[in-house]
């Protein structure tokens, strides 16, 4: 018997799975077609991810813009086998890597003494109806966690952000980064140990 014709092969795959994937892709392509919607829904999340990845909010704005434009221009390449958020995170990681390899970035990284203003960040802590003391404590925790994340190595920081900020499963992180699951797990363990010890080992 010869090789399966492509249509026969598709018939062998459970129809619901193929349909689900096609529908997901179609929805995502529709979502990606609208650049304004893309910016509205994902810009802030990508900006946060890139800001903590690079430690430079100004550079992060450029990278975020490049990421969204790259995604919009290459939307036909989206295969629909992951969420748009995951796809965008993958693009953001690649664009960030390109920028971090540049000599200009290395120069500015060396000359900058501080990256993110944590005091400025703490001002954005939502009030959530707690008293002033609890609010102050929460601000302190935000400041500590921010500094702990910034102190991580680039690999640890990337997997930490993907797992705990973007809430991606370990298997998906492994796929996006092209890293074995066990390597991702090791980075996450080290990142968590470092963050928890910097936060006073109370957690």
């Amino acid at each position: 018997m010869g090789a399966y014709a492509s249509s026969e092969f598709i018939d062998m795959v459970p129809r619901s799975r193929v349909e689900w994937r096609c529908a997901r892709r179609a929805r995502a392509i529709g979502e990606l077609d609208d650049i304004d919607g893309l910016v509205k829904n994902y810009r802030a999340r990508i900006l946060r991810f890139v800001t903590y990845s690079t430690g430079d909010p100004d550079l992060a704005e450029t990278i975020t813009q490049d990421t969204l434009l790259k995604a919009w221009m290459g939307r036909e390449n989206f295969r629909g086998d992951c969420s748009v958020k995951t796809w965008l995170t993958g693009i953001a990681i690649n664009v960030t890597r390109d920028h971090m390899r540049s000599a200009k970035f290395k120069f500015w990284r060396q000359t900058r003494s501080t990256a993110l203003d944590v005091q400025d960040l703490a001002a954005f802590l939502p009030a959530e109806g707690s008293g002033p003391e609890r609010q102050m404590l929460a601000r302190e925790k935000v400041r500590e966690l921010s500094q702990a994340v910034e102190a991580l190595s680039p690999n640890q920081r990337t997997v930490f952000l993907m797992k705990f900020v973007e809430e991606m499963p370990v298997a998906e992180i492994s796929q996006v980064l092209g890293m074995p699951v066990n390597t991702v797990r090791t980075h996450l363990h080290r990142a968590l140990s470092s963050v928890r010890s910097r936060m006073g080992a109370s957690v």
């Binding site: 650049i35 910016v39 810009r43 802030a44 999340r45 900006l47 946060r48 800001t51 903590y52 909010p57 704005e61 975020t64 813009q65 969204l68 434009l69 919009w72 221009m73 400025d120 960040l121 703490a122 954005f124 802590l125 939502p126 929460a138 925790k141 935000v142 966690l145 921010s146 797992k163 705990f164 900020v165 499963p169 370990v170 797990r185 996450l188 363990h189 968590l192 140990s193 928890r196 936060m199 109370s202 957690v203």
Partner: protein, 163 residues
């Protein structure tokens, strides 16, 4: 107190729970042990506050940054093609005069167009023009050489001695 609550989770096991890869034994320990559960919940609470804060910060910053403009991509001519075109032009610029000089372009085969002869009128006009140019560059002044009859008389120093 049950054995599950007396032996607390190691850091590694606790990390696995936080990552979402905890074993069933760890998960059941967390369910039973208030201390270990407290650690997990405190970390998740701190992380939640941090996530909400950083997202607010990021939203404010993204709002300030303004709209992202999509410009149509301009097609640039490929550099390699441009290089080849320049090289070909340079080669032709050298090869054509050399080829003409060497008679490689078949002037004897009658394929090239013979240069057109100037008409009598054209020649006369050209001569008039040349005369005018001569007059302009040679004004009617007597040359000192002519004036003092220095033409044809060799300088005493340069006079050839008879051998």
């Amino acid at each position: 107190m049950t054995p599950e609550t007396t032996n607390h989770l190691s850091d590694e096991a606790l990390n696995d729970v936080l990552i979402g890869m905890g074993s069933s034994a760890s998960e059941s320990h967390i369910a039973a042990c208030p201390l270990c559960r407290g650690k997990v919940e405190e970390f998740q609470s701190d992380l939640g506050a941090w996530n909400r804060t950083t997202l607010k910060w990021s939203e404010a910053r993204a709002e300030r940054a303004g709209r992202i403009e999509v410009r149509p991509a301009r097609r640039r001519p490929p550099l390699a093609a441009l290089g080849w075109a320049l090289a070909a032009a340079a080669l032709l610029a050298i090869a054509i005069p050399v080829g003409r000089e060497a008679g490689m372009f078949g002037t004897n085969h009658g394929t090239t167009v013979a240069p057109q002869e100037d008409s009598e009128a054209q020649i006369a006009q050209d001569n008039e023009l040349l005369k005018a140019v001569n007059a302009a560059i040679n004004p009617d002044e007597i040359s000192p050489l002519k004036e003092y009859d220095l033409f044809g008389r060799p300088h005493p120093r340069h006079r050839h001695r008879p051998q």
